[in-house]
Each structure stands twice: as structure tokens, then as C-alpha cells.
């Protein structure tokens, strides 16, 4: 084995900016509903090394042919700022709002959670679901599918509770978000 002294091993570029002050921001992005727009946004995140926690997208105006994406992104404040500007640069992007930055907003996520089991565990699952206001949308003698909506943290908590009770599968939508009050965004 070749042992190099530390100096020699060091990159000339140093350590880079590091992971200071990481924040989680929810961005609301109004885009033209055209082929490739999702690929453009995703390509931007992968190409520039930005971190995405969740992304949801669906058409919001048939007439204007527009969709809204809700992106939960993670990074330092300057990276979040960059993400916003980079999104604004894309031709089919009309408007980008950093909901976390711009004031109070509400955020909801939906999850479908499949729990398999019988006896005491099954009873406990139903009881916990009730506390979380999760609805049963399918059941067999040995399984339930729960539908739960709420903040991402609430969905996380529900899932954590269901794991020991026989959870076998989950499907989550990622967050959808909108500003509070009478603003249009």
C-alpha cells in the first residue's frame, strides 16, 4: 500500500462550501402544461446537484393550459435562491413563489398505507387510524388500506406508528401547498 502524506492527498480545491444552515423550502411553480416541462425541471435539479424532497404536479387550468408544481427543496439559503432563479429562467415557467419565504402557507400531503395483520395488531391499527383521522378505503379480513392526509410531519408520524402494526406498503403524493389568506398565489 502506498501511504501518501496528508498534504499530498489534499485536493487543491479544498473542502467546498460545506453543509451550513440547511433549510427546507416549499416552492410553488406555475408552468405551461407541455411535454418535457417536468423533465426540464427535474434535469435542472439533477444537473446542478440540488436536492429535492418531493415534487407534485398536475394541471390547474385547462383554459390556459397550465400546471402547478409544488417542489419541496433542501439547501442553504443561497442555494434555495439559486433554485428559484434557475427555475425562473426556464422558458415554460411563468411564476415561482417561495412559499416558505413569502409568508404563511398551508401544506398537505396524502398517503395510502397498507397494513396486514389480525387480532390485537389489527384492532390497534384501526384505533390509531382513528386518532389520525385516517380513513379506511379498503379492507379484507387480514388487511386495511388507510388514506391519511395532513402535513408531511403528520403523515410521517402515522407511518411510523403503522410500521410495527404490520405496514407492508405505502404510497405518498408529496406535498401540495398554497399561501394563506386572500393572495392569489
Amino acid at each position: 500500500m502506498i501511504v501518501k502524506d496528508k498534504k499530498e492527498n489534499q485536493s487543491v480545491y479544498g473542502d467546498g462550501p460545506g453543509d451550513r444552515d440547511i433549510q427546507r423550502h416549499t416552492l410553488s411553480v406555475l408552468v405551461d402544461n407541455e411535454p418535457g416541462v417536468l423533465a426540464r425541471v427535474i434535469g435542472l435539479f439533477s444537473g446542478r446537484g440540488y436536492n429535492i424532497e418531493s415534487l407534485t404536479v398536475a394541471e390547474v387550468s385547462k383554459k390556459l393550459n397550465q400546471s402547478r408544481m409544488t417542489i419541496v427543496a433542501i439547501g442553504t439559503p443561497s442555494v434555495i435562491q439559486q433554485i428559484k432563479h434557475q427555475l425562473e429562467r426556464l422558458v415554460p415557467v411563468h411564476k415561482v413563489n417561495d412559499l416558505t419565504e413569502e409568508g404563511p402557507h398551508v401544506e398537505r400531503e396524502l398517503a395510502l398505507v397498507k397494513v396486514v395483520g389480525t387480532g390485537e395488531k389489527r384492532v390497534e391499527a384501526i384505533r390509531s387510524a382513528d386518532i389520525f383521522r385516517a380513513r379506511v378505503i379498503d379492507s379484507t379480513t387480514s388487511s386495511f388500506i388507510f388514506e391519511v392526509t395532513g402535513s408531511t410531519q403528520k403523515v410521517d408520524a402515522f407511518i411510523e406508528l403503522m410500521v410495527p402494526l404490520g405496514m407492508v406498503n405505502i404510497s405518498r403524493t408529496g406535498a401540495a401547498a398554497i399561501s394563506r389568506g386572500s393572495d392569489k398565489i
Binding site: K7, E8, S11, V12, Y13, G14, P35, G36, A39, R40, G43, G47, S78, Q81, Q82, H85, Q86, E88, R89, L90, V91, H94
Partner: protein
Amino acid sequence: MIKTVKAKTKKIKSPLGKKLNKNHNQTMSGAEMVIEALVEQGVDTIFGYPGGAVLPIYDAIFQQDKIKHVLCRHEQGAAHAAEGYARSTGKIGVILVTSGPGATNVVTGLTDALLDSIPLVCITGQVPTFLIGNDAFQEADTTGITRPCTKHNYLVKDVNTLANVLHEAFHVSGSGRPGPVVIDLPKDVQFAEGKYISKAKAKTHMYNPKTTPDMAAIKKAVALISKAKKPIFYTGGGVINAGPKASKDLTAFVKKTGFPITSTLMGLGAFPAHEKQWMGMLGMHGTYEANMAMHGCDVMICIGARFDDRVTGDITRFSPNSKKIHIDIDASSINKIIHVDLPIIGDAGEAIAAMYKEWNAQKYKADEAALKKWWKQIKDWRGVNCLAYEKDDKIIKPQYALERLNHFLQKDAKKNKRDSFITTEVGQHQMWAAQFLPFNKPNRWMTSGGLGTMGYGLPAAIGTQMGNPDGLVIDVAGEASILMNIQEMSTAIQYNLPVKIFILNNQWMGMVRQWQELLHGERYSSSYTESLPDFVKLAEAYGGIGLRADTPDELDDVIEQMLETDKVTIVDVRVAQNENCFPMIPSGKAHNEMILAADAEQFDKKLV
């Protein structure tokens, strides 16, 4: 001697020729729409290469005479030619290539244009819509491949949307921060008949980037500038892209303030190099005075430049004590790398004009006493004479070759009343050209800055010569780079383009060799170019002229001969093999840690 036989290509007078520009709202084929829209957009020259998936468009080109098609010898060549054309004329460059390999070959050129913000519209053929996704012959996912290397791209599946897309593509490419746009056009759409929409009636999207700067910010900036004690202007390609007036206004404003000015590789020519305030280029191979002044300034006025890592060096130690003003048309360039104190989003030209107006309106005066001290300091830095090199009377030094070239260019400009245009390849020769050739006007210097693409210079020279038939166009080349697109010699011959290729032939990939010498323990891994061709014979084989200079006393003659030729000419200048390009800021070092030629020997290679 081989007689060249001119192929008989009789121009057929066609209905299309008559249709053009008369009634814009009529039906025509997709291929005809392409021609119609190009004409309406003011295009007269396009660069391309045919193939199965674009034959309908080539057919339409054959039957008209408004647009000249330049047949390049490789799609990458066509792309760089379009870039050279765009950069030297200020117009949008247009490329036409076939599907599959045509499209993939053009990718380097598109990426080059994206990084240097050059406006291009590239039309790629595509397999018919009903075959897309079937791995059809010469199918490639062109929009997928080019998405990250274009400003925007389109796949047109309905001929009735084609005209609008064509007009929108020109709008997107040329407005805001310019860039390349791809239109992928399936063959069946080229054949299909549809309604043409004129430029005037086209809806060019909601794409309307902000170009007018915020006046409050301009006022603040000018007030800050007026109080500066150690100011510097740092300008970039954005000023060139903003058009010749921006350069004129910049020159007037900078002269009025009396401040020093430096620029990036991309910005050379915006401020005349013959002016006393010009400090030379900054950055990795910039001048000592420019880098030291950037490091020591108290107010930095950055216009249309983007704090690239080749400019800043170590960002944590970049110009530590200055207030920074940053003007850029692209909001995402601001605070991306360097935190600035006063961001201004807008067109460089509009911002310069507004600042100049404000300076005059407020009757600002620079702090003369402070400025005098600053210039004295700069004079000391200039005294280091950082571009000095050891002369030799037996071996041609590359710097000397460029000094002689410059000498004869100045003479030529007076004698023949023509402008010279310089393109380059990538490597040491490129940096020496930036250091030793003075640029006094914008749009005269075409080099691959952001991507650093070897093989750029010859096709770019061809595009430049197409756009400036009376200009003197010279590609300052390296012997390794020139081989990357040497096939374009044939294009130059076909279109009678007398471009000059001035090879600083050191037989090495000099820039690679330099890094290996200084930073990799002198282990010269694969950087020596074995089996080089005889460039004189090569030129002759293509039907051009080949010249060679082996010693300093042959050089002047050869340059003078080169300037007189009326055909593409390769000059093989055999230069010193081991010359290094200084000053140099090694990667990861700060502006005040430059290596100068004089201390290169003492430079501790293990420290890097």
C-alpha cells in the same frame, strides 16, 4: 494537377420563390415554412449538413435563392461556424442538420454556445412522428439529449404550430441572455401542409425577460462608484452581447471616471486595448496588474461577467475588501458564486447608459487624490512586466510570433483598410493570443471561453468570414486543436474563404504539458503529439496554401505572405516546445498568489 469540376446545380425557378414574402397566411409545407420563417427573421446564411430526415428542407432550399446554405464538413463544424457568424455580426446563427448522428454531432457546438451565451437556432431533422420511440433508423431522443445544453428546445408534431415555434425560437434565442435553441422537426411534419403564421402575427410566448435595470439601484451604484478610492471595472461577454453601443457607452463612461478596467476572456474588445486605462485580461492567465487590482480594490463594478472560477481563483479569498456591484441580465448569475453588495438585473447596455447619464446628471467627480494613489500603485504592478518572456534568436517563441503577427496586422489595417477578426482554438496559444493581441473593437475576438472547445477556431473563422467577406480572419491555433475540425478546410475552399490558420506548433498539447510540469510532477502522460501531419502538405492537399516558419528570421516573411493570400492558408509556425504561459494562478489559489515567469523555477510544485 487535378481539375475541379463544378457540379451542375441549375437553380430552378420555383413557385416557392414567388410565394415568399407575399401572402403570409397561406398553406404550405412544413419545409417551406422553415424557409419562409427564416427569410422573415432576416436570415440570409445558414450552416448545415444534409441527411435523410431533413431532405424536404434541403429540397426547399434548392428551389429558392434568398438563403445561402453553407455546407460544412461535420455538424460540429457547422455549429461553431454559426457561432463565429453570430459573434462577429451580432445576428442569430442558424444551423440545419439531420436526425440521429447529425443531432448528436451538433451537441458540442450547442453546449459551447450555451456556456458563452451565443444566440443560435438549430433545426434538427427527426424520424417521422409515427416512428418516434421505435428505435427507428437514425433516431435519437434529440430534445432529451439537448435539453441540458440549450436555452430551450421544441419537438414539433403538428405542422400548424410550426411557424409559431420558428418565430418563438428566434425570440427566445436572441432576447434576455442569448443562447442556443433547438427545433426538432419530424420528417412527416416537413412534408405536411399547414397554415403559415407571419412573424408579425406569431405569439412569442410569455418569454419576456427583464432588460431595464432598476433606477434606484443604478443611482445607488453610481453614488458608490463616485466615492471609490480604489475602483476597478470588471466587464465580460455581456457587454459584447448587448451590442456595439454598449461598448461605446462603456468606453465613454470609463474614460469619464478615469478608473482602471479589466475584462474577462469573453469581454475583450468592449473597451479599446490601446487606451491607458486598459489593464489587460484578468483571471488564471490574466495580467499581474489586473489580478492585483481586483484583489486590492475597494469598489468593483462587474458588468456582464459571471465570476467564473477561471476568473476568481479561490472564492474565499476573492477581492476581500471590496464593495461589489454586479450587473447581469440573468438573475441566476447574481450571488451564485460571489456574494455581491449591489445586484442590478438588466441588460448591460441599458445599465451602462443609465449609469453614465446618472453620473453626468449628478455632476459626480471621481476622488482625484485617491485615484492618483491608486494609479501609482497600479503603475508599480505594471512595472513587474508580467508578460515578459525570454527572447531567443534561434527558436521562435510563441509570444514573439504573436507580437510579429500583431505588428503586421496593424500595418495591414492601415494599408488595406480592413478589420481583422481573431478566432482561436483552445490551449496555451489561446491564452497568449488574449495576452498579446490587442482588441480595440467588440465582435473581433471569437474564442471558446466557457466550454474551452478544441476545434472551435477553424469553423468559427469560416463563419466569421462568411459574415464579414471583406475582413481579415485569422485562427490562432495549436497543432493539436486544429486537427479536431481540420475537415473544415474543405468548406473554406468550397466557398472561397481566405481564412488564415496561424498554428503555434509546439508539438505538445502545451496547456496539458504545462499543468503536468507544474502540478503533476513532470509526468507527461499522453500530451506529446506524435505523428503530426506535414501541415504545409495538408493545406495543399485541400487546395489551400501552406507556409512554414522554422526560425525567427523566417517569421516576418511568412506572415507577410500569409496576409496576401486569397485562399485558405495554413501557417505552420514551429515554436519553442517547452514554453509555459504566465502569469498563472493555479486552481484553488487566490489572485495575489500568481506564478510569474520569473519565479516559475522557485515555485514549489508540492504546495499545489
